[in-house]
Symmetry: C2
Subunit: 198 residues, 2 copies
């Protein structure tokens, strides 16, 4: 009984600890989306979870890892969104356009999240054996809609992804005209589907 109780207690503690870790990530995300990543400081996070600063370092090695945890969430959500964008009834071409639009909608609707995923240092490791599934899922969704048009699916998906990422970034920084977003998506779509542009 004694040892049984002990195990229960340590399990509860582990649960509480994990819950606290979650609250850190949630707080980081909330502050970032409201006030930008510059406002996500260790002190402010510590305030938010009502613990002292060093506690954060028992959950994450450094600030970048916290950003990384938020980014990981983002990759998971992006994958869900991209998969949902593929309607079973749609033609292959429509599927590509739908995924492209969903991708850009995500980037513009959650700029802070997109920043964490693609701009800020996070320590996330891609294309490795220990790469978490969230990081592969989004790519997989894109590959699904690209596959019907490509010989080398991986390379074509990489290129498609790069085009979307570039569109998102250049527009986010005000270097291309927002009003022509849908026109650019059309060009991307035509690129993938291999149709003549003129």
């Amino acid at each position: 009984m004694k040892t049984g109780a002990k195990v229960g207690i340590s399990e509860r503690k582990a649960r509480e600890r994990e819950e606290r870790g979650r609250r850190i990530v949630v707080a980081a995300r909330t502050i970032a989306e409201r006030d930008g990543w510059a406002s996500v400081t260790i002190r402010r996070l510590a305030d938010e979870i009502e613990y002292s600063q060093p506690v954060l370092y028992s959950h994450f090695q450094n600030r970048d890892e916290i950003v990384g945890a938020v980014a990981l969430e983002g990759f998971g959500e992006l994958a869900v969104i991209l998969r949902a964008a593929i309607r079973p009834s749609s033609t292959p071409g429509e599927a590509v356009e739908s995924v492209a639009t969903a991708y850009l909608d995500f980037a513009f609707a959650r700029p802070a999240m997109y920043e964490a995923m693609f701009i800020l240092p996070t320590g996330l490791r891609f294309a490795r054996s220990d790469t978490p599934p969230q990081l592969r899922a989004g790519f997989g969704a894109m590959a699904t809609v690209i596959a019907p048009f490509a010989q080398d699916v991986d390379t074509a998906t990489e290129t498609f992804w790069a085009a979307l990422h570039g569109l998102a970034e250049l527009e986010r920084h005000g270097r291309i005209r927002p009003a022509f977003r849908s026109h650019r998506i059309t060009l991307i779509m035509q690129m993938v589907s291999g149709q003549l542009q003129r």
Copy 2:
């Protein structure tokens, strides 16, 4: 004579002042390319030009403006490189490929410069009446090679540029396979030239 001498002196001072401003930008660029932008601190720049820190703020409003000055140089150099990539004897398709390759070569050969131009906050203003010519020139070079293939040249150039930027960024962050760079360029080229991909 007096007033004449005065003017000469103030001109010399203006020259020296401008020269000092140049040295700040050169130092910023040098340090950034060697040790990364995080090492470009006001204190270190002040050391480098052998003046105290506040002097820097008589040349630039803040650190971001210094990054912006380096970025502006970068845009000028990129424009030169892209224009040089267009060989008069090349076919329209070859010109596109050549510009794409030159663009990516630039991005990978000068990552710190590319970062200043596209990632870091710089306060540079695009697509405005007071936008400096360097910022337009690179776009112009791309538009030149895209024009033969596009109806709406501006939109097509924006899309082309975005694709290149995305390729540069994703590869720089290790999210796509470096070994397949030339394959991806081929896909981009085919996109522009409107040829079938299969």
